[in-house]
Symmetry: C2
Subunit: 210 residues, 2 copies
């Protein structure tokens, strides 16, 4: 394969990579099929050959993005003996993780604008999300057993609080940043913002139940 002039796999993955950028940048309706094609070494024709339609391409982008992110998430392996340390580490690593994946977060925001229409058509994504919940369950269980954590909180609640904070940082940085005159994306501010989510979760979980 001298120059890979014909390489189905490469063509397909190049299209997917460029489409991810463009959809994340402009949204589904804002993205232009012609622009995606122009940014690759191949042509628009290939989009239809491999993905059938603009929508098919978008669905493929979404699916690949979720798989990639869940893959990366599995690296978050918190094995602190102390549940308090563990939950803080999980929250702060989640923060770091989100800060580093803003294209993904933009895609998720776009998908929510579409009320989840496309994500619902992708099989097997749910399963992919279960490990995250499992890890949390386990930490919470230990923390409760040791009498460190309140009992009226479940894994979904905690995941919701952490996700909300971490996603918001990235997803709403422009409006929030403008209105309150802060740059949430500034590297200088990151240690503080990271510590806050740790403090929030630890303070919440270790407080006595209502």
């Amino acid at each position: 394969m001298a120059e890979a002039r014909r390489d189905a796999e490469r063509t397909r993955s190049e299209l997917l990579a460029v489409a991810t950028e463009v959809f994340a940048e402009d949204g589904f309706s804002g993205a232009r099929v012609d622009e995606i094609a122009a940014r690759t070494r191949t042509t628009k024709r290939m989009i239809y050959y491999y993905f059938g339609s603009k929508e098919g391409l978008y669905r493929a982008v979404l699916e690949e993005a979720y798989r990639g992110i869940r893959e990366a998430e599995r690296a978050i392996d918190v094995d602190h003996a102390d549940p308090v340390d563990a939950i803080r580490a999980l929250a702060e690593l989640t923060y770091d993780h989100h800060v580093g994946h803003d294209a993904f977060i933009r895609l998720v925001a776009i998908e929510n604008i579409h009320r989840g229409t496309f994500i619902r058509q992708i099989e097997g994504l749910r399963t992919l999300s279960q490990p995250a919940k499992g890890l949390l369950d386990e930490i919470l269980e230990r923390g409760r057993a040791d009498g460190l954590f309140r009992a009226d909180v479940d894994a979904i609640d905690v995941h919701l609080v952490i996700s909300a904070y971490c996603v918001f940082q990235v997803a709403n940085q422009y409006t929030f940043g403008h209105l309150f005159d802060v740059d949430l994306a500034s590297p200088d501010r990151r240690p503080h913002l990271r510590a806050v989510i740790g403090d929030v979760v630890v303070g919440w979980l270790t407080a006595p139940a209502r």
Copy 2:
């Protein structure tokens, strides 16, 4: 004015109202000028007469939406003597407020996809957001003075945590709901979700500082 066959003010505000719905539903590029016009009693011509362009209309929608929401927010007046009660009430009222304004939250999400390009062109929105911060400042100050609240947290941090949680509920309900099989918008679940943000903020603020 028998039948208001000619009523500049009504024409303008009807366009704005319909445009708000359509932009919130479909995003800036997804929205169709013709559709907006068709849903009013007037014609597309009027959009260009009053707003100049699709973008001008979108900007007007965004501005009006922000003004409306800040107006409504001023009703959130928490006058509990106890800072702990006050901060919990503020968090929970913010939750209720967001749940009731999902069109606005969708517009904000859309604006963030556009990296805040349009909101930055609107004068005076910043000023509009200051009261929210002022109220928080005051509650925190009292809480610290009474030795109830930790000292390493400022109003922006608290506002960020509350906003993130409340916005996420609505903005990301579809993807989160699908992946974790919960309906965040279900009225049955609301009391719990409302209590969670109260617990989170109170637990966090009343925990000892790091």
